[in-house]
């Protein structure tokens, strides 16, 4: 286990370097001069030159990249061009918001999607299966911003139950924090409920037709035991795969959701950084997202290892 973990971490390093290079080149290639953004359009050339020198933008691109990477390894990923704040401290404030949103959305997707998929698989080709299938396709087809607006219309305007948007850290006011989070989580989670349900159904249908399921029935196990112990354990690998893979895709959904509900998360921060040509901040943000995806992949691999003895030996 430890060996595999170390190997996987070493394998992640080139991925990080390559992603870093790509992000850096995009920032360089994008039109717009950061000095203009910082100083305003009518800034005198002398001032702009001073800023460029300060940011090190006068040096060759490769040197800039090497310098950025070198500092990044030490934990310093630069300053925001716009505010001058260290990127790390901006990120530190934003990451928990997105993390909470993503985690709760996935939790919602799993808690609702897995049982739905299992029921659909057990009762396959019945009306229950048809209902789950129609709901899944509908949920997948609805864009996040539209679901978000519908939810605001329902919970805020009609029922007057929830605040439309805003954010309070969980540590300050847990109840209010969760009230702010409900609609974003429903918005982002609904599509993943559908994905998880469909994947669970497919995996369970396949597993339930296996020979070892017949064996379990032949030795007298109850249907509940057959499905939950013998069936679900085997379907879990496929379900974990879809959760792991979708986590990366979830970042895209988080950008939209955070914008609709005005959550101060990573997604919105990266979007704003791009509009502001705040490349320092953008690079840091993208790097964190990539790191997050790598960590989730690592966790997925560890889950396989725990779930399937064939991988262990």
């Amino acid at each position: 286990m430890l060996k595999m973990l170390i190997l996987r971490i070493i394998q992640s390093i080139p991925v990080l370097v390559i992603v870093g290079a790509v992000v850096f080149s995009i920032a360089v290639a994008l039109p717009g001069d950061p000095s203009l953004i910082i100083l305003g359009e009518n800034a005198p050339e002398v001032e702009r030159q001073r800023i460029r020198l300060e940011l090190g933008l006068d040096r060759p691109v490769l040197v800039q990249f090497g310098d950025w990477m070198f500092k990044a390894v030490q934990g310093d990923i630069g300053k925001s061009y716009k505010t001058g704040e260290p990127v790390v401290s901006v990120l530190a404030a934003r990451i928990p918001v997105t993390l909470q949103l993503a985690f709760l959305s996935m939790l919602f997707a799993v808690v609702v999607g897995v049982p739905l998929g299992m029921i659909a698989a057990i009762k396959r080709n019945s009306w229950v299966d048809a209902v789950v299938s129609v709901l899944s396709v509908s949920a997948l087809a609805m864009p996040f911003f539209w679901v978000g607006i519908l939810l605001i219309m329902l919970f805020t305007l009609k029922l007057r139950l929830l605040p439309p948007f805003g954010y309070v850290p969980f540590s300050e006011d847990p109840v209010q924090n969760l009230r702010f989070m409900i609609m974003p989580v429903l918005t982002l989670g609904s599509a993943y409920v559908a994905l998880v349900a469909r994947q669970t159904r497919a995996a369970m249908v396949q597993v339930l037709s296996s020979d070892y399921i017949r064996t379990a029935r032949a030795k007298g196990a109850s249907e509940l035991r057959v499905v939950t112990v013998h069936g679900f354990r085997n379907a879990l690998v496929a379900i974990v795969t879809v959760i792991g893979l979708q986590f990366a895709g979830m970042m895209g959904g988080a950008v939209v959701t955070e914008t609709v509900f005005q959550l101060p998360g990573l997604g919105r921060m990266i979007t704003n950084a791009i509009f502001d040509r705040d490349y320092g901040l953008m690079q840091g943000g993208v790097l964190v997202v990539v790191l997050g995806v790598i960590i989730v992949n690592l966790l997925t691999d560890m889950a396989y290892w725990l779930l399937d003895p064939r991988i262990q030996r």
């Binding site: 296996s210 020979d211 070892y212 017949r214 064996t215 379990a216 029935r217 032949a218 030795k219 007298g220 196990a221 109850s222 249907e223 013998h230 354990r233 085997n234 779930l307 399937d308 003895p309 064939r310 030996r313």
Partner: protein, 335 residues
């Protein structure tokens, strides 16, 4: 010599059909078969003859099927119709009084659980034993089927074992509760010839040691001769011939039985090519009105064979055949 052993299980007019939309497939049609205590009965036929479905029907392992008739079980508590039992009652039979092993040892064990746990589960499902006792039972069971170092083997996973070993594990698991009847659904078909012989020998030894009855399903007459006392030949969902193994092997009457026996490659008879039976088993959704074998039978005559389904007629004690022309064939020596 008359057999005085009491009957253990009895299939009375058992039919199995599957309906999808408005099409019904009659896969098993009015089977009558009895298995005595300590007896081994073989059910033999080609793929699609309904032999596996018959065995699964006994176990209630056909969720989408309609099963008619009666399956009488003469246990210690008197006679009961297995088809009339509740799900819960039937569960106590599955793996309890009736054990079952399957054709595919490679896929019949759950890949994610240690074999010790899988065998122990079978024990714990039927007997009020502790985890520790169940583990001991599992170990004893592995020893019974001839697996060396059974204690250490408890902790291995199926993927770490060969096909023959896995089939031994399946047998160990099915015998945990000392069933009165073991249903073996082509247990050797997927195995190498040398392993086949070992498994057959094992099953025969266990059957003798434990005094259980066995319903042995196969398509291989070579296997049948080794293990069965009585044979029922199935074709397209019906029993077309049944009798003592000797009767069937030495004096087969039904053209299908004869054709099956001819299809076994033999070293003592030189022939240019392997014998086969032309054609395929008829579609159970559209069965012919007369004899079901008529379409492939070289002795079929119009009207007699194609208009009326032939009844199962008894030639002599226990030897019965479903063929309209049987009196002619019975006189012709089979060679």
């Amino acid at each position: 010599m008359t057999d005085t052993r009491p009957v253990l299980a009895e299939l009375q007019d058992v039919s199995v059909s599957f309906t999808k939309g408005n099409v019904t497939a009659h896969v098993v049609d009015s089977i009558n078969l009895s298995i005595k205590e300590g007896e081994t009965v073989a059910l033999i036929g080609e793929s699609g003859s309904g032999k596996s479905v018959t065995s699964l029907a006994i176990m209630h392992l056909l969720p989408r099927a309609k099963i008619d008739g009666k399956i009488m079980w003469h246990g210690k508590e008197g006679a009961r119709n297995l088809l009339a039992l509740s799900t819960r009652e039937m569960r106590s039979f599955r793996g309890g009084s009736i054990g079952m092993i399957f054709q595919e040892p490679m896929t019949s064990l759950n890949p994610l659980f240690k074999i010790g746990d899988q065998i122990a589960e079978a024990a714990r499902l039927h007997r009020p034993v502790s985890r520790q006792e169940a583990r001991q039972i599992a170990e004893d069971s592995l020893r019974l089927v001839g697996i060396p170092e059974p204690r250490g083997r408890l902790n291995t996973y199926p993927f770490e074992m060969s096909g023959g070993m896995r089939q031994r594990v399946m047998i160990a698991m099915s015998l945990v509760c000392r069933p009165a009847l073991l249903i073996a659904d082509e247990p050797t078909t997927a195995l190498d010839v040398t392993i086949q012989a070992q498994i057959l020998e094992l099953l025969r030894r266990l059957q003798e040691e434990l005094g259980m009855s066995m319903l042995f399903i196969t398509h291989d007459f070579g296997v049948v001769a080794e293990i069965a006392e009585r044979i029922a030949v199935m074709y397209a969902g019906q029993i077309v011939e049944q009798g003592a193994t000797q009767q069937i092997l030495e004096n087969p009457v039904h053209p299908y039985t004869r054709a099956l026996l001819n299809a076994i490659p033999r070293l003592d008879k030189r022939s240019a090519r392997l014998a086969s039976i032309e054609g395929v088993v008829p579609d159970p959704r559209a069965l012919p009105p007369g004899c079901r074998f008529a379409t492939r039978c070289q002795f079929a005559v119009p009207d007699l064979c194609t208009s009326q389904p032939p009844p199962l007629s008894e030639l002599q004690d226990g030897h019965a055949v479903r063929c309209a022309r049987w009196p002619e064939f019975a006189r012709v020596e089979y060679a």
